[in-house]
Amino acid sequence: MNASVRLRAVGMALLAPLIAVVVAVLATTLVIAAAGSSPGDFWTAMFSNPLPRIRVNIVNQTAMIYIAAVSAAIGFRMGLFNIGVEGQYTIASFAAASFAGAAYLGGFLNVVVALVVAVVVGAAWAGIAGILKTTRGVSEVISTIMLNAIAVTLVGYLLNRYGVHGGNTVRTKKIPDSSRLDGYTPYLPRDGQVWMLVILAVLLGVGFWVLLTKTRFGFDLRASGQSETAAVASGIDPKRMIVIAMLLSGGTAGLIWMPALFGGAGSYGTSFQVGLGFTGLGVALLGRNQPLGMLFGAVLFAFLTAQSNTLTFSTDISPSIVQITQGVAVLAVVVAYEVVRRWRSRLEQRVVASELEPAGAGA
């Protein structure tokens, strides 16, 4: 009896992402049909074998999305909504690109210090929200939304003022050639490189898992996230945890765009990829803040985004359709998790009730 219940529970846990994917597929199909295009063409194009160039792109995108998801998940695990990942990585990317571009140092040392700059700036920006929350009781949701907007405007101003202007574009100074990191070229050189700093995603993923499951701090973090009163009772200072969690989350956010900076872009400008922060939030939700779950989500989102570029060649559907797919998937998955949770608790209640009944009553 108990084993079958547990089996059913596991099945239900996997059920939620499945439902979400099905709903997202249905919604996408409906929208395409409503817009007068052929859903069949769309799915054929999306599930065609990716070109080598796109495969490389998927790996690179997965890495950046995954870092963003880890950043969001650190906050979520603590019960904090760090909506500010977007602003934190924007301002951190700008700072790191400026520092690396100024070439105070050469070669690999320049990269390392620039990464430190990114982490520190991202953490500091998130820290503002953490300190406002602990000292003034300001909701981190609101303060990080505000800080996002401030970061974008501030970076725009600084870039305009101190950046290198060329034509209609403006960017920071190019990083010196000695600091450009050579990646791995799996196919022909024209198909692009898997950036070297993609390794950051792997390290952060493993680090996140170790931190959560193997350390005292991870335990404190999860405890505070699940029940603040219980955490206080076991001697955890919740305010300190909030600030540290925000700093960690922001520091991780600072690294999001670093693979692209040192692998391909070389400067902060039009090449900067916006929106990764919000994508990361979505992926963290999709993956239930679990290291492996988020990996699945990051691959899915990167695959959708990268493959959608082929749509322009083979169909009349615009690639932005995958944004709908992604958004619906996120909404559907959180709804599905909630539904499954309710089923599960009802199931558990029934089991407990039947076990409490006297043996002779016929259970």
Binding site: L132, S143, I145, M146, F278, G327, L331
Partner: protein, 418 residues
Amino acid sequence: MTTLVQTTARKASQHWFLLVLAVIAIVSLVRIVSGTDDISSAGTIRAAIIATCPILMAGLGGLWAERAGVVNIGLEGQMILGTWGAAFFTYHGGPWVGVFGAMLFGLIGGLLHAVATVTFGVDHIVSGVAINLIGAGAATFLAEAVFPDLQGGGPRQLVGLESPSKITVPGVSDVSLDIAQKGWFFVSDVAAFIGALTTSLSTLSIVVFALVGLSAWILWRTSFGLRLRSCGENPQAAETLGVNVYFYKYVAVLVSGGLAGIGGGFLALVASSGFNTGQTGGRGFIGLAAMIFGNWSPGGLIAGALTFGYTDSLRLRNADAVHALLLLLGIALLAYAALRIVRALRAGRETQGSWRSGLGIGVVGALLLVWYLSTETVPRDFTSMTPYITTLLVLALGAQRLRMPAADGLPYRRGSAG
């Protein structure tokens, strides 16, 4: 000015008239001292009204939802849906059908949020984030799919749309604009205000302000509104009194989405001459900020939206005026800080927190004055940060004076009253 305005919200019933007079006097004084006429010209005020309306609609949407206990940070996404709906329906049926279309599309966003948060009890922030993703994606996709085939359209825009009609009151308009030109203390500023209201004022602007008044009346003067607000304060208690909490939450969130949609429609039809991808530029979030700034009340919301709209329009019209704004803000903050400190001293020891935050506000005001005196211009970008920084300051310095609905953002399930 900002924090003064917040006090307006607080004591709206008694002192608002005096305060408006004081604000006009200060603005007028700053205009004359700094020599920037644009700070209160009819043109600036007209632009400010146009910039205010979308923020006001988003904020009002937020107010409806949060008063019923549902946090709606999906306002931005609902607004984006509204811009598309407005453009599409205006193209096919004229501006008022367009406004209806904007509302309809916002409503769809609201419905998604309501289903997720009310029926399924999903976390409100999570659902809002997802709705922002969906709204932005849907508007981009639909624009690329539909608009290139239409006249004046492209994959990212649809221009040349008809606007709702504009009203000019003959006579009053000319006279007041004339007086506004004279540059007299106080009188010209009032005249500029009247001039702006009587010269080519969009009918949709009137509708927007009427909707705020109507919402205030419904929420605070009808039994329907009382029940709706009770769902935001204590849904369990409301349930025991026989209030159908789910119903009221649904209505509130649907209205919320619809209003945000209208705000998006305003952007597409009045604030500019058509749809553009990414047109909202975070105004849904500014609306949310205006609502918090206004302490979850309609009067405060108007004050917040006007403040943010005004600074926004000033930035676009005249960069020098932004510099004068520093002086204005500095004086206003110092005055407000003095008021608070005096009040705290009179009240005695138990208001030490109020005393300290008064001091904090005073320091900020003094710094602004120093900034004004030591510089010649302010970068435009800094003005666009104003709403966000103001909100952070208000939250940080006045958090103990803000009071959101008690059960705002908390999950509720039918039958949980036991």
